[in-house]
């Protein structure tokens, strides 16, 4: 049976490198055969926000298709798909109150609403937990 790792994330998308680094670590965990739990707290609930949209970039001189702007929701969906293909699970929980405060309820499929109690349960049932705090 695959072991499980838990991550807690706090940073919103598009504002620093910690979000991307966290997804890199999650990607490696999935590649390494681990189930992964993610508890998204504060601004991190916007990482899987379903309404993130690509756009053209006039400064780069590229259309929306050419720019192919990265969307964390797409990265997370790809990670969930990758985990599923390996018989693993990426279980992503958004802090419900954080979602309410921010109007971030529309998340991609596979993301569920939860509370710090979920994080506690995640941590108790994981071989290790990494909290990537904001600054």
């Amino acid at each position: 049976m695959a072991k499980t790792l838990t991550f807690a994330l706090m940073d919103p998308p598009f504002e620093n490198a910690r979000s991307t680094t966290a997804l890199r670590l999650i990607d490696l965990a999935v590649k390494g055969g681990f189930n992964v739990n993610v508890f998204a707290y504060e601004g991190a609930v916007y990482l899987p926000f379903a309404k993130q949209a690509q756009h053209p970039n006039a400064v780069h001189g590229r259309s929306s298709e050419e720019e192919n702007h990265p969307l964390p929701r797409s990265w997370i969906a790809a990670l969930m798909k990758e985990a599923g293909a390996k018989g693993l699970k990426l279980d992503w929980v958004n802090c419900g109150l954080c979602v309410d405060e921010r109007g971030a309820a529309e998340a991609i499929e596979g993301v569920r609403r939860g509370s710090p109690a979920d994080f506690w349960n995640f941590a108790q049932n994981s071989v290790n937990t990494l909290v990537i705090g904001t600054k």
Partner: protein, 171 residues
Amino acid sequence: MKVLNIVEAAYRGTLEEQDDTIVWFCHAMKGANADIDVLLRGNAVNYAVKAQDASGLAFGGAEQTQPPKLADDLAKLKGKSLTATVREAVENEHERERSKIPLLDRINVLIVPRANPDGGEAFVRDTAVRIDMNRDHLLLLLCQGSQLFLQRWEQKRLATLARIASVDPGE
């Protein structure tokens, strides 16, 4: 109106945004005819390094096709009459390279065990020329005790030294 935009928080979301958001903002403001220059400070001076390669990011089947090219973005700013950007960055990069040289390889440390041997001999504060060094070392209006000593010791060598700091262990 003249604007100086200072960038010092580097690599904030550059992978997700595929550029630096402040450099991008400068491009856009320049497009609106803003008279703007950019100063790269701190880690942001690394934006001027050409050999950066941020390609290859992929999560599952989602691959990044347009990774950030920060040096190219700076070069394009330069093409928009923002020459100060790259020049400042390079100067700061040189300073950073210089800072990698161990401190003791860049400075001379002169330790004078007794800066006022005449006063010591007479057991008074004044030097032989009646200067109270304890009241003069901050003003530096008169010849410092250590300099007085060194002048006697090696006049020519002293002239080549630029004093960065004076330390009075008695204070």
